[in-house]
């Protein structure tokens, strides 16, 4: 059960100070050349003002685009393996949107459903999320269609909702409480403001449970072919996605030494499933587009009992050919099987 407090705008400076004093780095949305991206900040003033979302998702904090899994040296008849330790600095993610905060749950599901991934875990363990509710949304947003909301608490350790003069602060987890304890004097008792009233209004676009239920039956539907005809098969959607977790393992070596790197990958690339023999289980773009949707909306629910999508709309905004996920899902939901 969340404890709700009031946090003044000015007190953020002290909060940042306390966090940094505690040895944590603070990552927050910052603006550069008109683009919003995560960057390290020292003071609230550095945080971008009026932003909708970052272009990239916050997943790189726990799942960076390139990370070392191991390294080795080679001598005649011998290989010396060296385990890699993730550089997991205590980090506070400040000001991420509820959709993205929620996405860590989907990442966690994949990284730990069976074997545990120490790289992700080490980073996640050191990560605290101070989410920030949305007061506006755009045409790409559809969090409410996928079980989230502009002020949803899932995934945040503390969720801030902007209200007059400051924020409503919901302290949600132990990690949240630990932050509160760093500067408990800043957290004033709550005054019962209804956060729903200030949060953005995002209309649900489609009935997700119904869509999930019907997907298995529409695998061969033409709708995937139609929608994907203009898809150019790049990885922009997957790379900005806060839940996409597909990765590649790459070797970089010379005759004496080498390392194994984990790199983001995308099921939209035709090389993703291509066998060395030339056989490709997902030969055409429509099959790859379908995989992207099914993975998130059918296979995730079946395996992890949650969706692989948080409705943030980043993919739609990033897509060079305007593949609008909300629109396409709505269309799919409307297809009569």
């Amino acid at each position: 059960m969340a404890n709700t407090y009031q946090l003044s705008r000015e007190s953020l400076t002290s909060l940042f100070g306390a966090l940094r004093k505690d040895g944590r780095r603070i990552l927050a949305p910052v603006e550069s050349d008109g683009r919003i991206g995560l960057g390290e900040v020292e003071a609230p003033a550095q945080v971008a003002g009026d932003y909708l979302q970052t272009i990239m998702s916050a997943k790189e904090v726990a799942f960076p685009k390139v990370e070392r899994l191991l390294s080795y040296t080679i001598t005649p008849g011998q290989v010396d393996l060296k385990d890699a330790e993730p550089k997991a600095a205590p980090t506070v993610l400040f000001g991420v949107r509820p959709c993205e905060a929620k996405a860590f749950g989907a990442l966690d599901a994949v990284f730990n459903w069976d074997y545990r991934d120490k790289f992700f875990n080490a980073r996640l363990e050191k990560l605290a999320v101070i989410g920030l509710s949305c007061t506006k949304a755009d045409e790409a947003c559809f969090c409410t269609s996928v079980g989230g909301g502009p002020a949803d608490t899932a995934g945040s350790d503390i969720l801030l909702t902007p209200v007059a003069d400051g924020y409503l602060a919901e302290v949600l987890t132990e990690k949240g409480t630990a932050i509160l304890n760093l500067a408990s004097d800043l957290f004033k008792p709550g005054n019962g403001v209804d956060k729903v009233a200030v949060a953005a209004k995002v209309e649900a676009a489609f009935d997700q449970p119904a869509l999930t239920a019907k997907l298995p039956g529409m695998f061969d539907s033409e709708v995937w072919v139609d929608q994907s005809l203009r898809c150019i098969g790049c990885g922009a959607c997957a790379f900005v996605c806060p839940t996409c977790v597909c990765f590649d393992i790459q070797e970089e070596a010379d005759p004496k030494q080498g390392e194994r790197l984990r790199c983001w990958d995308s099921c939209g690339f035709h090389m993703f499933t291509l066998h060395a023999s030339g056989h490709n289980p997902r030969e055409v773009q429509s099959a790859r587009w379908r995989q992207r949707i099914y993975h998130k909306f059918s296979y995730y629910p079946q395996r992890y009992d949650q969706l692989g999508c948080v409705g943030c709309g980043k993919c739609t905004r990033a897509c060079p050919v305007d593949m609008n996920l909300k629109e396409h899902l709505t269309e799919a939901a409307g297809v009569t099987a």
């Binding site: 050349d33 008109g34 990239m56 922009a236 773009q285 739609t316 060079p320």
Partner: protein
């Protein structure tokens, strides 16, 4: 616009094409590629300033080729791309019905020769914004230029939106996919990104049709199109050849003149 729609309907109704590839309204103010496959869908076609995507990128896709003969709405940059694709034998003369669009006027071009002639009438100019940026880069010190690109590339994640949006990047097996040897690292780290953009630039030098789509495609706003455009301009300056001008291949980097200037060689 009406002429375009009318012709599109005709082409579809007569069965001359299986689809008309043009632009339609997208998210918000955006325009997107649209395949009108029935006469009834033609109404969705739009044509305005916001229609910037180079649709020629679709012309070489298996999925599109499989549709059958397609009519393509082709603003100047697309026209240039199409003729270059013909020169590089990726499209055969007559594979497409080309609905050339020039400042609102529509002209249907049936053959490579017609396209070549049509293109010859037009002056090619760079976007003013790009010119400014290029001049700015040019004016920088070498160190600043290095720092500038390193900073830009630090955002690159090798999503290949630039590559995949490019009409000239039609290779099924890109250099980036070559792993024997792995000339360019797959990983999107600093050196991997730098080498990727260098190779992409070199591959487009003499082939770039200067549509700028790669730069527009980049989700993180790296002006990668400046690289290929400047390489293309270099080729033009040095050798007088230009991509997307002739239906017969005239690739600057596999031709030569014995008196090419070589002041830099010692």
């Amino acid at each position: 616009m009406e002429a375009l729609k009318q012709r599109a309907i005709e082409l579809l109704e007569k069965g001359e094409v299986k689809a008309v590839l043009g632009y339609a309204k997208g998210t918000g103010q955006a325009r997107r590629a649209f395949f009108a496959r029935q006469p009834g869908q033609v109404d969705k076609l739009v044509l305005d300033e916001a229609c910037t995507q180079n649709l020629a990128a679709y012309a070489t896709k298996h999925e599109v080729k499989k549709l059958g003969r397609v009519a393509i709405v082709a603003p100047p940059a697309t026209q240039r791309a199409l003729i270059q694709l013909m020169a590089e034998r990726q499209l055969r003369d007559g594979d497409l019905a080309i609905l050339a669009v020039d400042e609102g006027a529509i002209k249907e071009l049936g053959s490579a020769a017609a396209l070549e002639e049509h293109l010859a009438l037009k002056a090619q100019g760079l976007d003013a914004k790009d010119k400014t940026l290029l001049a700015k880069l040019d004016a920088m010190s070498r160190e600043d230029r290095w720092a500038y690109w390193q900073n830009e590339f630090s955002r690159c994640m090798k999503c290949y939106a630039c590559r995949n949006s490019c009409p000239m990047c039609y290779c099924e097996h890109c250099t980036m996919d070559c792993n024997r040897p792995q000339w360019v690292p797959v990983a999107s780290h600093s050196i991997g990104n730098l080498e990727y953009h260098m190779v992409r630039t070199m591959h487009l030098a003499g082939r770039c049709v200067e549509c700028g789509d790669c730069g527009r495609a980049c989700p993180v706003g790296i002006p990668v199109h400046l690289l290929t455009i400047s390489a293309e301009e270099t080729v033009h300056e040095l050798f007088g050849q230009r991509a997307g001008a002739k239906a017969k291949l005239d690739y600057a980097l596999s031709t030569f003149k014995t008196d090419d200037k070589e002041s830099f060689i010692r």
